[in-house]
Symmetry: C2
């Protein structure tokens, strides 16, 4: 029999990794809840009619499709089958696909439950998504997303709270060096207008989004063949090179956006977000107004965000922005403005691992192993175990009769920090041997004192 394997691009998470992942999830979840976001979970499977056409043609190809149950070929067209037309046959043999992101299922939920939902609606969602992408380092076919969105309000308070939440999550995770980049769709439009490239926005945005990576010259090379004059390119980099504080940048852009209403609107929004932060008594230390941030702008209409952890190989670990109408894709006529963002847990995990930021306590192992010599000390040990657990201390007993060395080896391998060793003498006197596994030291104490010791932070 062949040794079993995992599907390409998927992973098992064993105990050590799980403990760290749970630490990240719980940190994010508790911040979301503290900010009044409510949990939602949707099924792993959605009807393909819900998913198809929502992610562009490339996205459609990356959907995992589920074969209909039973005699799935029954309704398939014989002619198409004989020509092996995979693409055309799909809809007749597969009705369901795996969730590709959390936004479309959220929009579907809102459309289906519109009458029961109290707007503005703040929901968070922490679930895996699946993409039939080519697996490579840091890119998986199954990965978790953690999304928070507010829909049903235009208020810029939501944007300010996104910054606050990111700040609080990173504080909770112990990540100190990071940057929350912010920009605004209106400001990007303002730039396009002010350099006379209004008709050519998309090419412009795609190009400048890469400024960090490819630099000025390459961007010029990319834009020249698309009809950008040298004059407009000079004007463009005059703007993109804006330096100084946010206030400076806003003042400078105001002078350039005389003729651009959307540019002015973008600047006002941004200024108000910073103003709100001040009223929250919150610092904007980590926030950077980045004129070149564009983030595949297809559906963003207001502020856009991107978060980078500094000094790690991994790029962006979180991003989001304001969109005009969440439920449009389902033919919903009532506009439902919203703003949301998403944490990429796998990337945060990799970054924290690289920076060695996981707290030592983040293990998923018992605090104590109870060790024993014979039947009597084992039976005695069960009472000790019950006392430890009643005190809320995660603990276990070595289940088999084995030499003490083997039992202590077990504790070491599982990184259990304490062992209580019980022999006939200890069971008699109630003075138990508490072994500190890291230091190898041992002391004799009654169980009440041991519990106190272990519970000390």
């Amino acid at each position: 029999m062949e040794k079993p394997t995992l599907p390409k691009g998927t992973r098992d998470f064993g105990p050590a990794v799980m403990a760290k992942r749970q630490f990240i999830f719980e940190t994010i979840r508790s911040v979301f809840q503290k900010f009044g976001f409510q949990p939602l979970e949707t099924p792993a499977m959605e009807n393909l009619s819900t998913l198809t056409g929502k992610y562009g043609e490339e996205g459609d190809q990356l959907l995992f499709k589920i074969l209909n149950s039973g005699d799935f070929l029954k309704d398939a067209d014989a002619q198409l089958l004989s020509t092996k037309s995979s693409k055309q046959i799909t809809s007749s043999i597969s009705e369901k696909g795996l969730r590709y992101d959390l936004t479309v299922p959220f929009a579907r939920f809102v459309v289906m439950n519109r009458n029961e939902i109290t707007f503005p609606f703040k929901r968070y969602q922490i679930q895996p998504v699946w993409r039939a992408d080519r697996p490579q380092k840091g890119r998986y076919r199954e990965f978790y997303q953690c999304d928070a969105d507010v829909v049903g309000t235009d208020s810029l308070l939501c944007e300010a709270e996104i910054i606050l939440m990111i700040t609080e999550v990173f504080k909770g995770l112990g990540i100190a060096d990071y940057t929350i980049k912010i920009n605004h769709r209106g400001i990007l439009s303002g730039i396009a207008e002010s350099i006379g490239a209004k008709q050519n926005e998309t090419s412009l945005f795609v190009a400048i989004d890469k400024l960090d990576k490819i630099g000025e010259e390459k961007i010029k090379e990319e834009l020249r063949p698309k009809g950008f004059s040298e004059e407009s390119l000079t004007a463009l980099f005059d703007i993109l090179h804006v330096k100084g504080t946010t206030t400076n940048k806003i003042a400078f852009l105001q002078s350039r956006f005389d003729a651009s209403e959307s540019g002015q609107k973008g600047l006002r929004d941004l200024q108000e977000v910073f103003n709100l932060l001040k009223n929250y008594n919150a610092s904007d230390n980590h926030v950077e107004f980045d004129v070149s941030l564009a983030r595949g702008l297809s559906y963003y209409t207001g502020c856009i965000f991107e978060v980078k952890i500094n000094n790690v190989a991994i790029g962006s670990v979180s991003g989001g922005g304001r969109y005009d109408n969440l439920t449009q894709a389902f033919g919903d006529k009532e506009n439902l403005s919203g703003v949301g963002f998403s944490f990429g847990v796998d990337r945060i995990y990799d970054a924290m691992d690289e920076l060695n930021l996981f707290p030592k306590g983040a293990t998923a192992t018992s605090k104590v192993l109870v060790c024993h010599f014979d039947d009597d000390s084992l039976y005695y040990g069960l009472g000790v175990l019950s006392a430890l657990r009643a005190a809320g201390i995660a603990s276990e007993i070595y289940p088999d009769h084995a030499k003490l060395k083997k039992q202590l080896d077990f504790a070491n391998k599982k990184a259990i920090p304490f062992a209580i060793v019980i022999g006939p003498e200890e069971a008699q006197s109630g003075q138990l041997a508490l072994k500190h596994m890291d230091r190898g030291e041992q002391e004799k104490l009654p169980i009440e004192r041991i519990i106190e010791k272990i519970k000390q932070p």
Copy 2:
């Protein structure tokens, strides 16, 4: 455009339901961890070679299969396609399936990581599984399982700890009236031997497992045509009708199992489990030795468990038992004895709902809504909000300008228990109006006192 729908047998979990589900999950998770079980997560998708043949023919048919990516028909046999042989074509167009339970993925994990795992290995796993079953009340196509298993030891301590864990989970959930039924594969064999039906075990076990539901006469009707004599049936019900304490039952069966080694072994094991419980200082109040419990015995080899919440429509909410060799199905030669059990969260949820057992606190909503009259009081409110959150109180501010009535309606609809109302006067004096939404009462207090009030349990 059509209104979107959910795939048959799947569900969305909105905020109110999620809060209750999270309460159940967290209770189970914390008990598992307190008993030294470590978390494991495996991918939603497994190779079909891992899944197929592990759940019997019916199980194979209930697997959700995932269409290969890209041109999936490329390698399919043209002849089979033309005859529309769904079953035979499957393996050439689908390599992966969705997880059907948590046991097979666990076994696969153990086989793949045998050299890194420290045995005995205690893992828990809380994840959804998928089955293409006919949906009906209480039966879904996507549902969560919560499994805990120990592999690599024969020790009956594990069985005792399963009983302890079930007891502690139910205590945490507030479920007081339940029964943990226990039996032993050896005892069932002992019964078969003692009534002369050793060759006919399977029919016997299948029949007596239904004693509760269909009663004595129907079981006799079922067994007669299968070659059971009236004499053996009389002997059978003589045993099945055994009454009294566990000690009585064991003594009675001992007298019948003179000739059955496995029967004697079963009784010894059971007696030792009860003896261990006593040494844990644990009660066996909820434990019932049920001679007729059989639980589709296919792979159990020792103790078997089943848990019922009493006085609800729903039947079993948890079950498990000891098995001989977890990794056998993957051709593993080294025997790996284990024992495990599983909680059915959906059923526990339904039972708790029926019994009205969810604690009032189990909501996923903010504790406080900050309400405001104008720009100034809104800005002032942001500082109040920051103070609340700094104190760990989940809170939010109404994001738009709106009449107070609308803001308070919003709090009511979301079941937010407190509102802080800030007008120009309150912003001036710092004496804020705290409204108790349930009672409709209002008092004026500074923010520090409000925080104290709200944090009181």
